[in-house]
Amino acid sequence: MGSIDSGSQPAANGKLEIKIWRGRAKDGAFSAYQVPEQAHQTVLDVVTYVQRRIDATLAYRFACRVGMCGSCAMTVNGVPRWTCRTDVKTVARKGRLVIEPLRNLPVVKDLVTDMAPFFDKWQAAEGRLQATSDREAEVATIDPASPERKAADAGVECINCAVCYSACDVVTWNPDYLGPAALNRAWTLQNDERDGGKAERLRAVTSDGGCQNCHSHQSCTEHCPVGLSPTASIAGLKRMATRAAFGRGPR
């Protein structure tokens, strides 16, 4: 069986050397574990092995294991990743993995972060549909070829994993910054014909912590596991904000 990533090397003795962050952000420390190497082993498999076979007190989070729920993101060898879809072979260096909680979020314990700030900002960016019709109404017909629909499509598959939020330095430097995921979501809604909250949302995403703070350095886009470009979405919001300043904003 060929290796997936030619840059990686196998573990020395069939054992992976794993370091996992234990405890809280301040008084925590790394603990070392040895995990048997297997073919087609994900980073989440490794963490699960440690929790089931070595130390049951290890706290981590996952649900779907197939890249849909967005709950398993961690920092692996310094890079934020969805661990359930990350093959160990593609990231291990000489069979070594350093696994930490996501950056830019408070650590609850071990690999579990408190996602509340992430979702609070999602709400602060008005990242929810303001429905203009009710369930009795006809299903809205939206032209798949319209520019708005295409713009919304480009950002809509977000799984809320916070990988981008963890990768963004502006979030680190400026705690008020709404961050790539929330702004990406806001942009999809600004392009949603069914939505009635566009003027309000534009105000929200141009508030003090809004889209203007993005430096377009694209860490979010580089690391988003589903290949979205929050950078492009944020650029869209900036364009929309500029037009609005000249009286051509959404109503």
């Binding site: 430097w173 400026n174 003090d208 203007q212 300043a245």
Partner: protein, 109 residues
Amino acid sequence: MIGPRLWLLQRATALIMAPFVLVHLGLIIVAVQGGLDASEILARTQGSWGWALFYVAFVLAVAIHAAIGLRVVIAETLRPRRWVLNLTAWVILIVLAVLGLRAVYAVIA
């Protein structure tokens, strides 16, 4: 940390500066063709309202653009209180504007 107005103002001043930089650089290249000394520069600039206007606008655009940019850098690296941040940005703006306008005055008047 940065509101939409300052953000737009920084974009607008960048837009103004882009052609100004080209004119400024072009002028330097043309001017040095036959060697350059102070009297030659002064002969061109002294009493010229056109160049006065050009460089006053240039200096103001630079001062505003740089003050907003440095305000962001300071906000993100040092995270001062807001009034400290705004005061610092004003000081940067005024220092840059005064230095620049003084230089413009020196070659025009």
